[in-house]
Structures are given as structure tokens and as C-alpha cells.
Symmetry: C2
């Protein structure tokens, strides 16, 4: 990784953290720059505009998620085991790097997520679609549109993360219930 890529990523990570803490509102370029230890103007050496920076951040986060999840997948296992690995790896990742989940959620429900944007190539989306397609073709998942399966599973995972985040303090008693969730999701999507 050359020096430029390094500094670019420094800026992206700085924006990511600010967005997690304060939302899109709370990440002025001045702050992003300060946190990345560069001058405000320097951001424009790496990005055309703030909007372009946000879009690039979106690509960056999705590629990091893809890297992490795909390298921990073992296609030689049977699909049920792969599903639970997928679930656990995804929820762990979103908890370790809470800013990933927070950013993706804010981005998805924001006007950045235009129709044009959705025409961009999306390796993470393609990977998950292929993953669930394999589950269907091996006869272990209900024969539905893999896009739908994927969205249902991701929606549940995100709900779980949100639950853990919001009720962090209060949930000693319910902690065991949370382990049952991937099983519930599996019961919903498996071929039966």
C-alpha cells in the first residue's frame, strides 16, 4: 500500500468514526480533517467533493465486509454449517466494528442511496447472492429468489445487532435468548 492510499484510508476511517458518533450531520470536512491530522484542503486532494468521499466510504466499508466474511467461509462444509458461520462472523464483525454497521444503515436509509448508485457493481451483494444460491441449489434452502433470502437474513442480523447495542446494559437475563436467533432464522429459510 503506497502512501497515498494510506492517507486516503486514514481520512475514510476518520469520517466513518465521526458518522458513527454524530451521523452525516456531524461530520463536517473540518472535523474529518482534524481527526485524520490533515488540513481541510487536503481532503480535496483525495476526493472530488464530500459527496464523492461518502460514496467512496460506502465502497470501502462494503469491500472490508466482503474481505472479512468471504475469507472465513469454507465452501467445503455443508451449507447449514456455512450459514451459522456466516451469521456468527457477520454479527461479530458488526459488533467489533460498530461503525461499519452504523454507517451502512445510515447510508442505506439516506438519499445517498439513489437508484443510480444501486447500478454500481456491488461485489458484496453479489457474493451474498451467490452464497444463498448455493444453499438453494444444494437443496438445503427454500427455493426462493436468493436476493430475498439474503435480505431477510441480513435484516434479522441487523435487528439483532441493534438490539444488543441499545439494550447493552439491561440484558443479562435475555443474553441466552439471543443465541437462539440464528436457529430461528435458519428454521425460517431451510427447506422443509
Amino acid at each position: 500500500m503506497d502512501q497515498n492510499t494510506n492517507k486516503k484510508i486514514l481520512i475514510l476511517e476518520s469520517a466513518l468514526e465521526l458518522i458513527r458518533e454524530n451521523g452525516f450531520h456531524g461530520c463536517p470536512i473540518s472535523q474529518v480533517a482534524k481527526q485524520a491530522s490533515v488540513a481541510a484542503g487536503s481532503v480535496y486532494t483525495y476526493f472530488e467533493s464530500k459527496d464523492e468521499m461518502i460514496l467512496e466510504l460506502h465502497r470501502y466499508v462494503k469491500s472490508e465486509v466482503l474481505k472479512e466474511i468471504s475469507e472465513k467461509d469454507h465452501p467445503e462444509k455443508n451449507f447449514e454449517a456455512r450459514f451459522f458461520d456466516f451469521w456468527n462472523n457477520l454479527t461479530s464483525l458488526y459488533q467489533e466494528r460498530a461503525a461499519f454497521q452504523s454507517f451502512l444503515e445510515q447510508f442505506t436509509s439516506s438519499p445517498y442511496n439513489t437508484e443510480t448508485m444501486q447500478l454500481e457493481s456491488d461485489p458484496w451483494g453479489e457474493w451474498t447472492e451467490a452464497f444463498f444460491k448455493e444453499g438453494i441449489e444444494s437443496g438445503q434452502l427454500r427455493p426462493l429468489n436468493p436476493k430475498i433470502l439474503s435480505m431477510m437474513v441480513m435484516g434479522s442480523a441487523i435487528s439483532l445487532i441493534r438490539f444488543k447495542t441499545y439494550f447493552k446494559t439491561k440484558t443479562a437475563s435475555t443474553a441466552q435468548d439471543l443465541h437462539l436467533i440464528p436457529k430461528m432464522v435458519w428454521d425460517g429459510i431451510k427447506f422443509q
Copy 2:
């Protein structure tokens, strides 16, 4: 409903629509006022500040959702039927009033959703929790924390709506698959 309440709601609905179209970024008071046919200053007759307006909008949307869903619930039916009613009514409502779903999603993942805010009384949250609690106590749902059940179901419903919104144009072939989703969710949460 007196005249003041009327105009207050006019302003809230105007903000709601702008937020759906352009996000929190894209709803300056000047625009909210213009769309509601009042002067910018008048907004401050009804709300202390823009932030307070957004918080009140949140209360307003949740109370509208509660009104709609609770009045269409029939507690004398068995719980499985009530669940499918609940699902259908919620997804219909979110489709008819897309701005409700869009606003709630943006609000939830924004910094408006502080911890203090979550201590506010929340009739809609309490209603859904009680709803799922009845399902558990009648032995038809898995005996889990009803908050968790509720969140899983809502997460799936929202994923479905998002799917329909994004792929509106392309999905003639997958439309039938979408009908199976409430059944999948039910299979995941029912006592077995």
C-alpha cells in the same frame, strides 16, 4: 381538532414528506414552511426548535402507526391469524405511507435516537411487546423475550418493504416469492 393542531400537523406532514424525499439534510425549515404554506417564522410558534420538531414528528408517526395497527387487531382470533393480520397490516401501511417507514428508519439510525430519547414512553413499543407476549403465553410462540421477537419480526418486515421499494420495477417474476415471507417468519418464531 382545533385550528392550531391542524396547522401543527400540516407542518409535521410537510417535514415528513421532505425527509422521505431528501433525508434530514434536505429539509431546511424554509422548505418545510413553504410546503406547509406558512412563513418560516411560524414554525417556531408551534415548535421550540427544529430538533424539537423532529422529535415531535417521531412521536406523531409512531402514534399514527399504533392507531392503524391496533384498531385492525382482533384479539378474539387465535394468535397465528392475528400474526398474519399484523404482518399484512404493517407492510400495507408502510407501503401506502412510505414516508412513515422511511422516516422511522432514518430516525432510528440517526443521532436523534439518543439514550435519553429511548427513556420516553413509547406506546407503540409497548403495544407490540404486549402483542408478542400474548403469543408466548398462549403457547403459540417460542418462549423468548418478547422484545426480541418483536424486533426480529419488524426487522424482517422492513427488509421486505425495502426490497419492494428498491426492486419495484424488476420483480414481476419474484412477486409470488414475497408472499411466502410472512410464512417463513412465522416458521421461525412459532413454538415447535
